[in-house]
Point group: C2
Chain length 511, copies 2
């Protein structure tokens, strides 16, 4: 019954009611104190943590990802919620700046101006197929949007509808128990529901992780609205993996092993899977190819996340089979088996430059830096670019860094791109076509910035403003006051001990 119901679209009235509820809840959630908001996020995290035994079998039944991987993914999901609770509580993300009135300034400041970031409004979150927990109903997009103070309507991924319903229930119960209206998060099912969500006047921004085609279609709808909204789409990418001749000579087997694991991890269904491998045309480069082909060729077939993901992979393999200049180095005639290909450098074309989402990679061998340079010129920007080089190849490494940096969101040296840390330093994004907005990340602490907009209050009475914007401030956050970064410390008794203990003076010349 449940499964049949989920093949249907959420009815239009239900979509409307869900968005309306999120819109009605928006003002009060936006006004929640940062402490309350952080505590609610932690309550939801704790509830997810407690649900592991009930949840994981259901997720596994829908995704076949296995208990080990899903236990790790649940831990990541819980961590993300708790990290955003920390981010909210710390408050630096608010970008508070205060300038006091100064009619003698080079450009007069006629009244006190107090700026910070406020929630952008209700956010639509489009779940990913490949992270049924960490990028789904309570995943990174939702956690960052809720942390920002936005309410959320999630469009469930068709690959795991029961998981989605269950996680929604966990979230709403935990919120209600912590005294917050559960309407700050809602859920709709179906493709048409997603389209109506992105076009709904009450939706103010959207986060998406998925295919290029799906992301572009939604980006069009977001742009075509009477009032366009920011659409943060992470569309996947063909990730470059590059090995120098020195690195191949020094550690061919280790690189081939690591690379095979990275290509095959999760049956290749990661946005960061290295799909385009540049190897030196040398004996040690040949050794990497041999070991890689052995590892990939001997890996049995695994299940795909969904039928459409499998169909997409089969279509991609079909493109490789049809392309000229390509040879299959490993894999069987079964299109769904893990495979390795080699492409003649002169024939590197669109079939290879486009991502093929699943357990496959294409090797291209280069003779020298000149040839490699020409090849890299043709590569599209991506979420990641990885290189393996040796210490003695300093000039080559510098050149690689300069060459690939304009085309990637994250540069990985002598490691593997799969496995994304969830930290303040993480950037998971990249120039078009890998995302629809290269200026923001969908993973890590700074992803909260996607769902915020600045506002400035000029000459407004401090008593009417939130604590963070008052000169005397109980909430200790980093602020820029009259140009200088300042911090209100507080004692262990919770009392503000001083107003503007100066940070180390930042170097500033006054004109």
């Amino acid at each position: 019954m449940t499964e049949i119901a989920h093949l249907l679209e959420s009815p239009a009235e239900q979509i409307a009611a869900t968005v309306d509820a999120a819109a009605r809840a928006a003002a009060s959630w936006a006004k929640t104190s940062r402490t309350d908001r952080a505590n609610s996020l932690r309550a939801v995290a704790d509830a997810m943590n407690r649900s592991a035994d009930d949840l994981i079998p259901i997720v596994d039944s829908e995704t076949a990802l296995g208990a080990t991987r899903l236990t790790g993914e649940l831990a990541r999901t819980v961590h993300q919620l708790r990290m955003f609770a920390d981010v909210v509580e710390e408050g630096t993300y608010l970008e508070v700046a205060i300038d006091h009135a100064n009619l003698d300034a080079p450009v007069p400041i006629s009244g006190d101006i107090r700026r910070w970031l406020v929630p952008i409004g209700p956010v639509a979150v489009f779940s990913a197929s490949n992270f049924p927990l960490a990028f789904s109903v309570l995943g990174g997009d939702t956690a960052s949007a809720l942390a920002a103070g936005c309410t959320v309507v999630v469009k469930a991924h068709q690959g795991h509808p029961r998981t989605s319903d269950m996680v929604l229930g966990i979230a709403r119960n935990a919120l209600r128990a912590s005294g917050i209206t559960e309407d700050i998060i809602g859920l709709v099912h179906g493709r048409e529901a997603g389209r109506s969500l992105i076009s709904h006047p009450a939706i103010a921004a959207a986060g998406f992780t998925g295919s290029v085609a799906g992301g572009k279609a939604l980006a069009e709808l977001a742009h075509a609205r009477t009032h366009p909204i920011p659409f943060f789409g992470e569309l996947g990418s063909q990730n470059t993996f590059l090995v120098s001749s020195g690195a191949a000579d020094a550690r061919a087997d280790a690189i081939a092993d690591g690379l095979a694991n990275s290509v095959l991890l999760g049956n290749g269904q990661f946005c960061t899977k290295p799909g385009l491998v540049f190897l030196p045309a040398s004996p040690s480069g040949q050794r990497i190819v041999d070991v890689l082909a052995d590892r990939i060729g001997s890996r049995p077939e695994s299940a795909f996340l969904t039928g459409p993901v499998r169909d997409g992979f089969v279509a991609g393999i079909g493109r490789l089979l049809d392309a000229t200049g390509l040879t299959r180095l490993a894999g069987s005639d079964t299109a769904t088996a893990p495979s390795l290909w080699e492409c003649e450098p002169a024939l590197l074309g669109d079939e290879v430059l486009e991502e093929c989402f699943g357990p496959t990679a294409v090797v291209v061998r280069y003779r020298d830096q000149h040839e490699l340079s020409g090849l890299l010129d043709r590569v599209d920007p991506a979420l990641t670019a990885t290189f393996h080089t040796e210490q003695h190849e300093r000039d080559f490494t510098t050149w690689i860094l300069d060459t690939i940096a304009p085309k990637a969101g994250r540069i990985v040296a002598n490691q593997y791109p799969t496995g994304v840390a969830v930290t303040a330093s993480m950037h998971h994004g990249g120039p078009s076509p890998s995302t629809t907005n290269s200026q923001h990340t969908s993973v890590g602490a700074t992803s909260i910035r996607r769902f915020l907009r600045p506002i400035a209050f000029q000459n407004v009475e401090q008593e009417l403003l939130p604590a963070e914007l008052r000169d005397m401030d109980g909430a200790a956050v980093l602020r820029r006051i009259d140009g200088t970064l300042s911090f209100n410390s507080r004692t262990s008794t919770g009392i503000v001990s001083s107003v503007y203990p100066n940070l180390p003076q930042l170097p500033r010349e006054t004109p």
Copy 2:
């Protein structure tokens, strides 16, 4: 000769050559040290400052803004360049975050990750008509883009081509003298030049200040590219100005005076001009109307910036004349004269809700908070919203703040919206339709963020990375290291005195 030449479009070859030069200069400018970049910006600022006597007569001949206003605007332009030099030198804008490898983290960190913001690439800047210096060739968009490390191609505004050429010459000479290639800034003329600029594959982002129609057309082109680029358009807005009954009772004449000045400043040609005035239907409200009508009606006609701006104003006045429910309270039959209108509350419609760029405003009188609430519901988001209330009207003021905050970028209390400070706290932006991107500002220190994108380096040797990303760091900038904000101080001799003197510990709960 010059004027005739400028009515022509820049030839296609010249546009291509200008963009190519900016693209070629991009990598070296992006790599310039922050000190060198700051010094170059200061050199350009100084050169502008020294050129006042030559420059201002030419700007005045093209814009009729007068020497007083233009002297002030030049000072603002110089200040903007110097402010961004300070921003670059201070370095907080880089958003540096470093996390060291930690396999025991809740989500493992497999290698050191070092994130900062890098220049997005060559930027197209579309000059504004109404700020021939401060939002033109060396205006805020250009200054923030250059500060970010991006090269710039400016599309000159047709209203001041000679000014544009002269300022370009000042900039390029000053850059050359400071040892920087002058190709980091170029200039093209003409509408077609603007269109080809925004569609050029080498252009990575665009800043625009101008009309709704022009901005939307360019936004379409930016979105339609094979690889869409961020388009930061400030399209102007119909700014709300609201007076409570208490404020009207207490200071009708002063409010009317200040409001008249704000409406008429620069002949009404400011994006922040208060165009939609809500007054209480009371005797003191009537007093404001009377004084306002007197001030506006007695103001002689002034020159418009350009023919198209005048034509646009005349068309807007035509819409008001044709609309039902509107009465002219001040002004002559000459459409270009300053004018004041009143609109019946029940008939508040599109003609009035749309900006009319020039010396005019529309008054709407409300009987009570309920009626005002219905009226404000119909108002579009704008760059600013202003209210005048009294201290004893605390509940009303709180309600106003809550009601208008979702619809404005800057909220002004008991002052006037024209006159924008250039500070870290300023926000000059707002939700659609006032801008094409509500998440960023076009004025103030944080406008630099428009032209930056994040990048993360994982496990890359520190020696290959810029100083800002190394553990031992000669460049003192605020950084988040392993989650905690840190700062490297330096002694007066310029030597790093300690590596991580802790900032006051930010409140962090560890889960």
